[in-house]
Symmetry: C2
Subunit: 211 residues, 2 copies
């Protein structure tokens, strides 16, 4: 098996541990031990623990958001050629589905998705803002597109409902990364693909609800 370089090994371990235990709870000692690198290597390569976090986020979030942007553009272009407003469900799918596809693109991507999900409710402003800042451009594109799709929905209502959507999405990503546990008295959880498919149906219906 090919041994990746030190920098990548640190990022892989960080992705895994930040997602599982949270940023603050993860110690650099445990992290470097898992990565099989020296403790001092983190500060050498990333400057600080927070610098490592930013590197871990950017590595996957930048391409993920680019994929979302492309899919949104495709939906918008299709609608433009037909001359009708883009369907809201298609726009939501373009934003949500890449998240799942992305999970299978790399071994550690699944952990990363959980890390995104958690970041929405991250207490630390630094961490949360770093995430939001990276998502904002493509989120703005989604928002503007949905305004065209649902012209009768007031902008502040749409904004609130997109917040609900992000909450549902984040929580789903977060909990689907945990080992599935059957709760007595409740049905077994859906598969990951089934979960995402129904999430899109759920938020589409929610967005189009009368107000």
């Amino acid at each position: 098996m090919l041994q990746t370089d030190t920098k990548s090994r640190i990022m892989d371990a960080a992705e895994q541990l930040f997602a599982r235990d949270g940023f603050h709870t993860t110690s650099l000692r445990g992290l470097t031990e898992l990565a099989n690198v020296n403790l001092a290597a983190v500060n050498y390569h990333f400057g600080s623990k927070e610098g490592l976090l930013q590197a871990v986020i950017s590595r996957r979030l930048l391409p993920l958001n680019e994929l979302r942007r492309q899919k949104l553009k495709t939906v918008l272009n299709q609608a433009a050629t037909v001359g009708s407003p883009p369907p809201a469900a298609d726009l939501l799918r373009a934003f949500i589905e890449p998240t799942l596809d992305f999970r299978n693109s790399a071994p550690g991507a699944k952990d990363f998705i959980a890390l995104i999900g958690r970041s929405l409710s991250e207490p630390d402003e630094t961490v949360r803002n770093y995430f939001i800042q990276q998502i904002l451009p493509v989120f703005k594109l989604l928002f503007d597109s949905l305004q065209k799709a649902l012209p009768d929905l007031p902008a502040d209502i749409l904004m609130a409902r997109l917040q609900f959507t992000m909450g549902a999405m984040g929580h789903t990503m977060c909990s689907s990364a945990r080992p599935k546990q059957l709760i007595p008295g409740f049905p077994a959880p859906l598969s990951d693909t089934g979960l995402v498919a129904d999430l899109i149906r759920f938020v589409s219906a929610g967005l189009e609800a009368p107000c």
Copy 2:
């Protein structure tokens, strides 16, 4: 001004800091300083930092869940006398609305609501499980009631959609506790009451979406 007792002052400060900074990030030193009590008082009254967390949670979550249970029962009884299944929107309202009413019931309750919201994505299993364990009975009542309200919806789909609902709710509670900040290019956020009212519309429509 009447000075409350040591135990309450500790719990009030903990509620505030756990909600704002998270459980692990909050130090007993900062906490006892804010509460204006001695550092050792926490261990005297609550045994440990985690014991304090459990006390903080139980103090408000037990009465909140009791209120939810009562409201759900009222909806169920009304439906029973009429002889028709309970409306799903009413059931969701009975579960969600008390959360908002509760916020204004005590000075620190607003912080607590944020604490609940965050707990859903809490990495620490101990913390998360303590929350879930306390919510589970009334959540089961909601689940069973909604099965009557929506008999054609498969149980596993309903379960998934309730997860989306909890995610949307948690995220909303969490972010509405933060100081509202206007993001450039986006509309101003709704008021708290408007937000909850639309959340109920959103999740009601989502739950009843075709599958």
